[in-house]
C-alpha cells in the first residue's frame, strides 16, 4: 500500500479531567474515504478540529503529506479543506463574494474561473448573487461544500455534511462527492450518523467510542466481527456499552 497521506499516531486530547480523544492512531491513503463513526461526544469532531490545527493535541502526532502539522501548518492547510453542516460563512456577503474571499485565503490561481466552475458544478448559478443569510440549509451546505472543493484540496474533512438535509439534497451531495472524489483522487475523512450513508460512502470505517477506537475495518468486516445484521445494529451495540474503567 502507498504511503499514507494522513498519519495520526497516539493522538490524545484532554480537557481538564475529561479525555475527549484517547490515544487513537489511524492512516488515510490517497483516494480513500475513511468513515469516522461514533455517538455524540465520541470525539469525532474534536479529532477533525485537531487535524485542522484548530485544537492543540495533548499528545500524539499528526502528519500529512509526510509533514508534521505542528511545524508545517501553512503548507499542509494549503492542501486541506473541510465542510460541515454546522459551520457558517459571513451572512452579509453573497455566495460569490464568500467564494472569492476563500479563493484569496488559499491563493487559488485563476480565481474567477475557479469560482465560476464550482458554482456551475454544484448548480449554484441561481444563488450566485444571493446574500448568504438568505440561503436555505440545503443551499448553505452546497456553499460550504463549494468553499471546500474550490481550493482543490488533496485531503477533505467532512463533518456530518448531510445532517438535517432533506433526502433529495443528501442524494445529490453524495453523488457529487463520490464522482468528484473519484476524478480528483481526493482523500476524505467523513463523519455521519447515517449508517447507510456511511456504508455507501466509506472504503473503511473507524468506530470511536469514549474517544477510543473500538472497531476498524470495512463495513462488512465490522458487521461480521460483532455478529450483527447491519452497521446500525453494531452502532447501537457499541454506543450503549458503558465506558471501561
Amino acid at each position: 500500500m502507498s504511503n499514507p497521506i494522513v498519519q495520526v499516531r497516539n493522538l490524545t486530547k484532554r480537557f481538564g479531567d475529561f479525555t475527549a480523544v484517547d490515544n487513537i492512531s489511524f492512516d488515510i491513503h490517497k483516494g480513500e474515504i475513511l468513515g469516522l463513526l461514533g455517538p455524540n461526544g465520541a470525539g469525532k469532531t474534536t479529532t477533525i478540529h485537531m487535524l485542522l490545527g484548530l485544537i492543540t493535541p495533548s499528545s500524539g502526532t499528526i502528519h500529512m503529506f509526510g509533514l508534521d502539522l505542528a511545524q508545517h501548518r501553512e503548507t499542509i492547510l494549503q492542501q486541506v479543506n473541510f465542510s460541515s453542516t454546522y459551520i457558517s460563512m459571513p451572512f452579509s456577503l453573497t455566495v460569490e463574494e464568500n467564494l472569492k474571499v476563500v479563493a484569496r485565503l488559499y491563493s487559488v490561481k485563476n480565481m474567477q474561473q475557479q469560482v465560476d466552475s464550482i458554482i456551475e458544478k454544484l448548480e449554484m448559478e441561481d444563488i450566485r448573487t444571493r446574500l448568504t443569510r438568505k440561503l436555505s440549509s440545503g443551499q448553505m451546505s452546497r456553499l460550504t461544500l463549494a468553499k471546500a472543493l474550490m481550493t482543490e484540496p488533496k485531503v477533505l474533512f467532512l463533518d456530518e455534511p448531510t445532517a438535517s438535509l432533506d433526502p433529495d439534497i443528501v442524494d445529490k451531495i453524495k453523488a457529487f462527492l463520490k464522482e468528484y472524489q473519484r476524478n480528483a483522487g481526493l482523500s476524505i475523512l467523513y463523519t455521519s450518523h447515517n449508517m447507510r450513508e456511511m456504508e455507501e460512502m466509506s472504503n473503511r470505517i473507524i468506530f470511536l467510542q469514549h474517544g477510543q477506537i473500538v472497531a476498524e475495518g470495512t463495513a462488512d468486516q465490522i458487521v461480521q466481527r460483532y455478529a450483527q445484521r447491519d452497521l446500525e445494529e453494531v452502532f447501537l451495540k457499541l454506543a450503549r456499552e458503558p465506558k471501561a474503567q
Binding site: 492543540t56 460563512m89 491563493s107
Partner: protein, 263 residues
C-alpha cells in the same frame, strides 16, 4: 506574510461595508454627531467669555484626534467581532492564514476606517466651525501615527479578552477604549489629575499625544520629548500585546475555545 491572504481577509470586510447601512453609520453618523455637540459646547464657552487659549482648536482638535484612537481600536476589535458573529473564525483559522496575517489585515482595516472618519471630521469641522485642523501642520503626522498605534494596542488587547472569554466580553469592543480616556487627558491638561494618577497617565502613550497637541496650540512648537515618549511606549506596548495575543490564541487552541468562540 502572504499579501494575497491579507488582501483576502481585507476584501471580506470591504464587501461587508459596501452594503451595510449600520457600518456606514459608524463612519458617518456618530463622528458627525460628536462633532456637532462638541462644536456647540465650544461656541458656548467662547460666547460665555471663558478664557481658554484656542478653545475651538482645544476641543475640536482633541475630539478629532480622540476619534482617530477610537476608530483605530475599533478597526481591530470589531473586525474580530464580525468573524465571531458570522461564526467564521473556524473557516479562517483552518485555512493557511496565519495569526500575524490576521492581525495585519485588521490593522490595515483600522487605517482605512481612521482615514475615512478623520477626513470626514476634518471636513465637517472646517465647514461648520471654520476650524482647519491641518493648520497644526506636520506635527499632526506623528500625533496621528502614534494614536493609530495606541488604537491597535487597545484593539488587540480587547480582541484577546473577547477570544478568551467569548461573547460575554464583546461589550469591551466599545467600552475598553473609554477606560483609557480619563488618563489620556483628551480634553484637559494632565496637570488637573491628582498627582498619583499623573504618574500612571505618563505611562499612557495617548496622554503624551494630547499634551503634545496642546503644546503645539499654545506654544506653536513640536514637543519632541512627548513624541519620543509616546513612540517608545507605543512600540513597547505593541510588542508586548501582540506577544500576549499569540499566547492567548495558543491557550484558546489548547482549551478548544477557538472553535467555540461566539457560541
Amino acid at each position: 506574510m502572504n499579501v494575497g491572504r491579507i488582501g483576502g481577509l481585507l476584501s471580506r470586510h470591504l464587501y461587508l461595508y459596501q452594503r451595510s447601512f449600520a457600518r456606514m453609520l459608524e463612519i458617518f453618523y456618530w463622528p458627525f454627531l460628536d462633532l456637532v455637540v462638541w462644536g456647540f459646547i465650544t461656541m458656548y464657552l467662547k460666547d460665555a467669555g471663558v478664557s481658554l487659549h484656542g478653545a475651538v482648536a482645544f476641543f475640536l482638535g482633541a475630539l478629532i484626534l480622540w476619534d482617530v484612537l477610537f476608530r483605530a481600536q475599533q478597526g481591530v476589535a470589531v473586525s474580530f467581532l464580525e468573524e465571531m458573529w458570522s461564526r467564521n473564525l473556524m473557516n479562517l483559522f483552518a485555512s493557511p492564514l496565519t495569526v500575524g496575517e490576521y492581525l495585519v489585515s485588521t490593522m490595515i482595516m483600522s487605517i482605512l476606517k481612521v482615514t475615512a472618519v478623520a477626513s470626514l471630521m476634518m471636513v465637517f469641522a472646517w465647514v461648520f466651525y471654520s476650524y482647519d485642523m491641518l493648520k497644526i501642520g506636520f506635527s499632526l503626522l506623528p500625533f496621528i501615527l502614534n494614536l493609530v498605534l495606541s488604537g491597535w494596542i487597545i484593539g488587540v488587547l480587547t480582541t484577546s479578552i473577547i477570544m478568551r472569554f467569548g461573547q460575554q466580553a464583546e461589550v469591551l469592543a466599545w467600552g475598553m477604549v473609554f477606560l483609557f480616556q480619563p488618563i489620556s487627558c483628551v480634553f484637559y491638561p494632565l496637570e488637573v489629575l491628582p498627582s498619583w494618577l499623573q504618574s500612571i497617565a505618563w505611562m499612557v502613550p495617548p496622554a503624551h499625544i494630547f499634551e503634545g497637541m496642546r503644546a503645539v496650540l499654545v506654544d506653536g512648537i513640536l514637543p519632541v520629548t512627548h513624541i519620543i515618549w509616546a513612540t517608545g511606549l507605543n512600540l513597547f506596548f505593541l510588542v508586548a500585546i501582540v506577544a500576549w495575543f499569540y499566547h492567548t490564541f495558543n491557550v484558546c487552541k489548547e482549551k478548544g475555545m477557538l472553535v467555540r468562540v461566539g457560541e
